[in-house]
């Protein structure tokens, strides 16, 4: 995998807008995502956070009639260029979903399947073990690798999904409210895990939990329904997390992070 050494930014969006049919869900987003950092996307519900996140690995295309305008540059290549293969994009930019969704297969297969799809020729047992280690799940499942992934607890399932994502060795991991369906202890584990993962991966996380954003992220993008667009969301402020939560430059951000909003 090539890394463009001259750039600190792994993903950069330029005037990105996302449509569902005629409806413009997200408008004019300009972001630069730092490599090996955690970037949080926060904002009120319905402002297009998930839609924006999904546009980074073209998962939004699974919704019929959705399309994007503007650019999403990944290592300098436009993800929406005609010759780009969405399958390849998703290989390089993985995703973890709100609700844990392991395959109804064994824990081992959950991880090995994606690797096999991409023609992995190394030692599969090793890869499975390494991925589970990285997802801080190995110790809990090493004796039950051939049991169904669905037999695990919610938090374990989510870490299994993270391990599954890591196994195909992406550069970026997108996380769509990965802890919203979990209890506080499982949430804490996921947050600790993210801290570990950021050494090797760039993480973009959507969260409605502002404390979580403050705790885990280095950068925060604040989304709101844009002025003048009835139902279209956009990023109104993007900065270091610290700054967003202590001295935001936009009044709306301040209202939101201090809880005065909605």
């Amino acid at each position: 995998m090539s890394t463009t050494a001259d750039s600190n930014y792994v993903i950069e969006t330029r005037h990105l807008a996302i449509f569902y049919g005629d409806f413009k869900a997200v408008t004019d987003v300009n972001l630069r995502i730092q490599r090996h950092k955690i970037t949080a996307i926060i904002g009120p519900s319905g402002c297009g956070k998930s839609t924006l996140l999904r546009s980074f690995n073209r998962m939004n295309e699974l919704v019929p009639e959705s399309h994007a305008s503007g650019q999403v540059l990944f290592d300098g290549q436009d993800l929406y260029a005609r010759q780009v293969d969405p399958v390849e994009v998703r290989h390089r930019i993985g995703m973890v979903f709100q609700k844990p969704n392991p395959f109804p297969k064994s824990i081992y297969e959950n991880i090995a399947w994606g690797a096999r799809v991409h023609g992995y020729r190394g030692n599969m047992d090793e890869l499975v073990e390494r991925s589970l280690h990285q997802a801080a799940l190995w110790d809990e499942v090493k004796d039950i690798l051939h049991r169904s992934g669905l037999a695990l607890s919610g938090g374990q399932q989510q870490r299994l999904c993270i391990a599954r994502t890591i196994a195909v060795q992406p550069e970026v991991i997108l996380m769509d409210e990965p802890a919203s369906a979990l209890d506080p202890i499982a949430t804490l584990k996921i947050e600790e895990l993210m801290e570990e993962l950021k050494r090797n991966y760039t993480i973009i996380i959507v969260t409605h939990n502002m404390q979580q954003a403050a705790r885990v992220s280095d950068y925060t993008a604040m989304m709101m329904l844009a002025n003048g667009h009835a139902r279209s969301g956009t990023v109104i402020e993007f900065d270091e997390t610290n700054k967003i939560f202590t001295r935001p430059s936009d009044k709306r951000t301040e209202d939101y992070v201090t809880g005065r909003f909605g």
Binding site: F74, A115, G119
Partner: protein, 316 residues
């Protein structure tokens, strides 16, 4: 935990020089084409039906002995003397279907209401499979039942001189039993789709169960029930074996349900079951009748689908 470089290098994965560029996945394309063919195949079936029925029917109408106007209005179908009026066949199709629907609509709807609104979970679990079995029996079995049970029953009730051995009433009655579970199950689906909130609103006003059912739930599900009825009618018109076995084997222009007659479907079965040569008028005539049958049932099906779609839009 492996170091930064190790993970980034992607050990074990083949190196892809083309980066994000589209790769040619030939297998993927072939499979997708095959799947599209499978999806498109049913269009060929329809085209085949329309083309073949149309072509042969045209041959039928082109023969000098046949007059299209007479075909639709003539009251005598006697190919050996070149009389091709479809009315005797059409009326018996109409009468048997009418009898069937008279049985199936009220009973089917009542059964649907009972199963959906009254029956306990346990009762429904026993009754539904029974109705499903009833709907799943081959129609030839119903034909046997009509001839061997219902006809003797009718004859003992109304007298052997009134009821002929082959008669429209017994075929129609048994067809009604066949269609009953169809209407019941489709109507039940429609009743189940009515939101709980609507029922609760009515109960909240102090309505009795019957009032909730008859004045709130059934009207709300009416279009779904209507669609079920239309599908039932279409099924009755196209039903073949029951009438072929029990209604009779000769066109008869009559409105007396106790007399024997021959329906459109019954006629097709009788003609094609004999030794027919491919170029006779007889052979072509079954295509003309088939075409008429096809258009009637197609129209009914389209209407019912329209109704169902509109119904879904209301509640989903």
């Amino acid at each position: 935990m492996p170091g930064k470089k190790e993970a980034a290098q992607g050990t074990g994965y083949p190196v892809r020089k083309e980066g994000l560029r589209k790769r040619r996945r030939v297998g993927e394309t072939i499979i997708q084409s095959l799947l599209f063919f499978a999806g498109f195949f049913s269009i060929f079936t329809t085209l085949g039906i329309v083309y073949e029925l149309g072509k042969e029917a045209l041959l039928f109408f082109r023969t000098p002995e046949v007059d299209p106007w007479e075909f639709l209005t003539g009251t005598s179908w006697q190919p050996h003397i070149n009389e091709f009026g479809i009315l005797p066949l059409a009326t018996s199709t109409f009468i048997t279907s009418l009898i069937a629907m008279t049985i199936a609509i009220p009973l089917g709807m009542a059964a649907a209401i009972y199963l959906s609104e009254y029956a306990s979970h346990k009762v429904r679990r026993t009754l539904k499979p029974i109705l499903e079995i009833l709907a799943g029996l081959p129609t030839i079995v119903y034909g046997y039942f009509a001839l061997m049970f219902v006809t003797p029953l009718l004859r003992s009730l109304f007298g052997n001189d009134v009821v002929q051995i082959y008669n429209m009433a017994s075929g129609g009655l048994v067809m009604g039993i066949l269609i009953l579970p169809l209407i019941a199950s489709m109507s039940e689906d429609a009743l189940n789709a009515v939101p709980r909130a609507l029922r609760e609103a009515a109960y909240g006003l102090g309505a009795t169960k019957l009032e909730v059912v008859l004045k709130v739930v059934v009207p709300a599900a009416l279009s779904g029930i209507a669609a079920a009825i239309i599908v039932g009618i279409s099924r009755a018109i196209g039903e073949t074996m029951i009438v072929a076995v029990s209604v009779g084997a000769g066109p008869n222009f009559t409105f007396n349900p106790f007399q024997s007659a021959e329906t459109m479907t019954g006629h097709i079965v009788r003609i094609s079951g004999g030794d027919l040569s491919y170029d006779s008028i007889d052979y072509n005539s079954i295509f003309a009748i088939g075409l008429l049958l096809f258009f009637i049932t197609l129209t009914l099906n389209i209407v019912s689908q329209r109704i169902v779609r509109r119904f879904r839009e209301v509640y989903e």
